[in-house]
Symmetry: C2
Subunit: 78 residues, 2 copies
């Protein structure tokens, strides 16, 4: 199984990306974890280390994919 981590902040753009794109992943090959960075601020540094600069973003196999634009990571820190 490949790890897939979907980082979001509850924004409308995030919700659409989660419902449409993250949920479209093949769950027989990918183990999906959904992380709300607004509620789990202690995981922001983990997202940044993976190269995530905005949400929503999907990290597949360690590689970050930013999906449309909801909010920047910097804005989530404030």
């Amino acid at each position: 199984m490949t790890n897939a981590t979907f980082y979001h902040a509850g924004c409308p753009v995030c919700v659409a990306a989660e419902q449409q794109l993250a949920q479209a992943l093949d769950t027989s090959r990918y183990q999906l974890e959904v992380v709300h960075l607004g509620q789990e601020k202690q995981r922001i540094s983990e997202a940044e280390t993976a190269g995530v600069s905005s949400v929503p973003a999907l990290v597949l196999n360690g590689q970050p994919f930013h999906i449309n634009f909801g909010a920047s990571i910097a804005d989530l820190k404030s």
Copy 2:
């Protein structure tokens, strides 16, 4: 089956998104079509109508998701 159309232009960012993200879709639920807009310029207007403004982008069920940034649609027209 839900239609999934991946628009790209052959750029490195596009190739990574296709190999990692587009290929992660559940093919039992999604029918994936890959469109190279640099080679199939006649389909640029179709992508624009779907709301695609840059590549790589994945249109799921008519909804556009821009994945990172490779090139703008405007640049592909020139």
